[in-house]
Symmetry: C2
Subunit: 358 residues, 2 copies
């Protein structure tokens, strides 16, 4: 079996969430000792988690954040304010525990895995860095395909297999580090959402606003030169994607395979979610939008996926930071659902009531 | 010294937050190993917490939620879908650990104190219920003052002293349980915000929409009969308030006295915050809006206080549930600020870099 067949075999095993169980979960939710609907979206999340995990007591304790790292040839076009080398520096910083995602991941109670799928640097062996390097970064998509189809498949499988190897997963998120990676993300969004490149292109990690038109022109050139097939997500990933974007899509697919709640982070994760959903449409029902990033087209991506963000805190860092922060919201959802008494239980157990009115 | 003088003595000790420290905190925030501003409102919260707590390493570990409970004479006017007795039942349920706020408070890592300041029922002694009862509920504010000025003062002192007695407080929130308490809250908001009663009155815990006009008419009658003095918050509290609303205002004042971050929950907490801010305007700088409730006038209250909500999840339960959920957002704020490396530290400690480019 070649690699692509291996991936397709995985994809065929992704099942729809259990809508019959969602119905039962809603009955329990409505019976809890509070006015119906009073916990708003926490209630909907609890019901959804039940359907995803296929159990009436959804778990939230086993949390995984996979930070996928890779470099991008398109940085040569001047689309980022940072040099490529910052990818390597930040992964080293994360590995030593000083980065945003390592701090927020720790506070989210999540296991954080740093996966190097394509950084343009050979790290010395380090216990915190998982070496799954497929290439030393992509090629410049403004001049030709970012990678081969086989590399694209391998990137997706890399992310997917990380999730499959975890003993337990209730909630999973993907983060990223890859200087230049909003540019392929904009190309993917432009293609899948049918947006003109300028509407799909933002400032990323802090590009000067006057350079956004240039960045959008690079996106447009990548689309024109490569002509990716919108109905073939692996063709899209190979021609205008990134190695860490493929790996993130794989993490999302792996989350659905494991029947875990899947939390999208920001814009780049959104592009990866679009790819994952094209590969296996049932994935959509496993997705939660951790937050709404300030990056220009992120809200359009969420709207396309039918998702409302759990948090809206004007964050635009990436790395998985918004998804990490949102894990606690899903904890609130699962916890109230699992641990609250129903109204009936509360009445029966009203031991403090010494009156005779029962 | 009489009770009101005692309260005024406390109020005079509330100091403005340390804006000079906020300036220093912003410098540290901007030096962290991420693009400036990329963590959005988490960054602003970290800077604000530093100024509030008067230290460059703001704490978030010591968390207190005070759930204040009391009954309301105005329930006789048919303003709530629930009978008064539910206040007692729910406090008993909270005490046994089965209520929303007990579950979410536990998951927020907070100490939850249930304070009975005016429930119309004498609970048998219970380790989880703090007996600070001032009266067996308020009188019907649609027929005259809800309470005496002395009762109002005592309710504020009750909340304030709970916070003063805690050994350590970094973050504090107030929750409530009191059937009928959105009606006095609407009266308070109508008065302080200059809103017509109908614009300040919503469905509370689930009043049939066609009964909201009646509820607003009750609010209007309470305002007309009592003519509370908008410049005298204790007069407002006594005439159109509630015992738990006074206690919540006291919790907020106590939080400011202890230099803790103060988290407002929903609409009733918002009304209490308006009272606290009238008593001591410096309190405003200590406030965070935990979330935006679906209750009609809550957004107007937050806007009046100059606050943007941390969460917006369509919750409207009260009890402190939204504030409990928001405590984790402030944890993310303080944690990234305290534990991330600066860019300089990240470069110096880049032990994974074997190249000679430093």
């Amino acid at each position: 079996m070649n690699l692509e067949e291996q991936l397709l075999t995985h994809l065929r095993q992704i099942v729809p969430v259990n809508e019959a169980l969602a119905y039962k979960a809603r009955i329990r939710e409505d019976a809890l000792a509070k006015p119906r609907g009073a916990l708003g979206r926490l209630e909907d999340c609890a019901v959804r988690l039940s359907a995803i995990q296929n159990r009436l007591k959804p778990g939230h304790e086993n949390r995984l954040i996979v930070v996928c790292a890779a470099d991008h040839g398109v940085v040569a076009e001047g689309v980022s304010p940072y040099p490529k080398d910052v990818t390597r520096q930040q992964i080293a910083n994360f590995a030593e525990g000083g980065g945003t995602i390592t701090v927020l991941g720790r506070h989210a109670g999540a296991k954080v895995i740093l996966a190097d799928v394509g950084v343009n640097y050979d790290f010395p062996p380090h216990p915190a860095i998982l070496d799954l390097k497929i290439a030393h970064g992509t090629r410049n998509m403004a001049q030709g395909p970012a990678m081969t189809r086989e590399e694209a498949v391998r990137s997706v499988l890399a992310g997917l297999e990380i999730v499959l190897q975890e003993p337990r997963v209730d909630l999973v998120a993907a983060g990223e580090m890859g200087i230049g990676n909003t540019t392929p993300s904009s190309a993917i969004c432009s293609l899948f959402l049918g947006l003109p490149p300028l509407e799909a292109t933002g400032v990323g990690s802090g590009l000067a606003p006057e350079k956004v038109a240039h960045k959008a022109a690079v996106v447009q050139r990548a689309l024109e030169i490569n002509r990716p097939d919108v109905n073939d997500p692996l063709d899209v990933l190979a021609k205008i994607g990134g190695l860490e974007i493929g790996a993130m899509a794989g993490v999302f697919l792996g989350g659905a395979l494991r029947r875990a709640g899947v939390i999208i982070d920001g814009f780049i994760a959104g592009a990866a979610a679009l790819l994952a959903e094209k590969m296996a449409p049932a994935v959509r029902e496993y997705l939660f939008a951790g937050h709404c990033s300030k990056e220009k087209a992120h809200r359009a991506v969420l709207s396309h996926l039918g998702l409302a963000p759990l948090l809206d805190l004007e964050m635009w860092l990436g790395e998985g930071s918004g998804a990490a922060a949102a894990m606690y919201i899903l904890e609130c959802a699962a916890a109230h659902f699992n641990e609250m008494r129903t109204l009936e239980e509360a009445m029966v157990n009203d031991t403090l009531d010494r009156t005779a009115d029962k």
